[in-house]
Point group: C2
Chain length 324, copies 2
């Protein structure tokens, strides 16, 4: 008799959801953990299937692992050389985050456009004082780097609010109706000078590291703002700091940084035209957790029944596989 | 020969716009002022037509005045008993503000939903710390009091972002497609408990004073937020202060207050869950000024050629006249 497969689930799920996971393959052995704190290296190494994000040190070199369904949108810790065997099917939770994070991106754009961060600083001083003209989304051109689930949702909402939307992608594909103009990455230098908002929702790959570098920051409008919800190393931070400090550009909203938590002595904290959130997109809405769990259950079902899943990650690019 | 009519223009307009104003009635005598600082009582009292906002003390009791085209959306200073003769045609600049102010209203909703005000306070302390779950527009029910130019633009944008929209009006009319449910003011008590966002963009009239009073605040969800861009006296401020201080409701964003500027010793300044802006909607976008001037020129043209204007104010209600 074949040994029963072991399934490790690291998700904060309820009884009904647990029952649905088990129903996918009732003969498998399940091990449920609400958080990483109770998950030992031994538990990880013996699992054939993992749903959730094990620490990369504990999953490194696993010989048993066949399928890893992450609960995160990013997968860069796991695609690095030497972590997973190449025959592991790795999938992320892209699709669960777009609605929530895109609203967060808009919150940053509007806060910067309306100087809400400056008014908050004034409020702490009991200061009733105008902070200058605002800018309107409906009069703005938005350049989106990484128009996937998250960047695409953002583009759609900004388009609905009246913005002109331009996206740059690795590869050309069908242009959605909410993208006014679509280009590949090699057009970036000519597009940056047109943008009022530059929004990054990129995965962490060699190709995206420092994609917004000093030279590209120099191409930006003086009134431009930059939003980054992808990975901190997509922006050359010293150059961005200089541009913000000297008001070379108007502002930025950053959720991610090259070093996290942002060191307490970082000069970024004190920039009046930078809004900082602690890599949480201004807090997950409770509904995102439900979406993640539903996506994990669906992908686990597809893996068992069809041997393939819709959000499989390509180890080479760090992006979703084009054809699954 | 009939005496030439005197037209006083108090607007920051350029040469081309000035020429278009004069072209409406080239034989009239024009007096252009960029701001109130150079406008004496004598200048105001001799004017037959005023475009812009004279101080109410200088316009009080004018016998010459026939038509007053305001550059503001509000007109409450001028409809009060004893300011203008009843045969004056009074018009406001409703229509010029909707796009700008509605984006400001969304900025407040999203900042409160994402705790950007708390993250800004944390930033000033160099504190990398989660501030709890966020809430989503697309999972929210928005109750709009005053769905005119401003409230209507807000409702439309929130609807496009996926919110459920409910409006209450003085009188029922045709329901726009972006309003999911429409009621008259007498339904307010039954609607407040359903609302995640309560947005006020009401004119200052006896009927709207303290419309959000202690009893109605008691009906709100614990997670509700309140936005006020209309007039400060629409909310019973002591009751709102208590509700915010005790976290009886989740938050508020206020641009207007019963006393302005907000006194430096007001306890409102120190509420962590209140966002304050100084009665400027987070700053006017530059384009709003252009819209105001264009609306003033159009209304002046209509007044001269047709004797009536689209945004005439009813002295009795403080609202736009229904039929013009």
């Amino acid at each position: 008799m074949e040994e029963r497969k072991k399934v490790l689930v690291i998700l904060d799920i309820n009884k009904e959801q647990k029952e649905r996971v088990i129903a996918v393959a009732p003969n498998y052995k399940y091990n449920f953990h609400k958080s990483l704190s109770t998950v030992t290296r031994e538990i990880v190494q013996e699992a054939n299937i993992i749903i959730g994000n094990p620490s990369k040190d504990r999953v490194r070199g696993s010989e048993a692992l066949e399928f890893l369904q992450l609960s995160s949108a990013g997968s860069e810790s796991y695609v690095k050389e030497g972590i997973l065997n190449k025959d592991v099917i790795l999938a992320n939770a892209t699709g669960a985050y777009g609605q929530g994070i895109s609203e967060y991106m808009i919150s940053l754009v509007l806060a910067l456009f309306r100087n809400l961060h400056i008014y908050r600083d004034n409020q702490s001083k009991h200061l009733w004082q105008d902070a200058g003209n605002s800018r309107l989304v409906r009069e703005s051109t938005v350049l989106i780097l990484g128009p996937g689930d998250i960047g695409g949702s953002f583009a759609k909402k900004m388009h609905n609010l009246g913005a002109k939307t331009i996206s740059v992608r690795r590869t050309m594909g069908t242009k959605p109706e909410y993208i006014d103009e679509q280009y590949t990455n090699d057009s970036l230098d000519s597009l940056i000078p047109r943008a009022d908002v530059i929004a990054l929702s990129l995965p962490n790959t060699p190709a995206t590291t420092n994609i917004i570098n000093k030279d590209r920051i120099a191409l930006m409008k003086k009134s431009a703002i930059v939003i980054n919800v992808g990975r901190g190393n997509a922006i050359e931070m010293e150059a961005l700091y200089e541009a913000l400090k000297t008001k070379r550009i108007a502002g930025a909203g950053l959720d991610v940084f090259p070093e996290e938590p942002l060191p307490v002595d970082s000069p970024l904290w004190d920039l009046d035209n930078l809004i900082i959130t602690p890599h949480n997109n201004g807090g997950e809405p409770k509904s995102t957790n439900t979406k993640i769990i539903e996506l994990c259950i669906k992908n686990y079902t597809d893996y068992i029944n069809k041997g393939k899943v819709a959000t499989e990650v390509d180890f080479k690019t760090g992006y979703k596989k084009s054809i699954v």
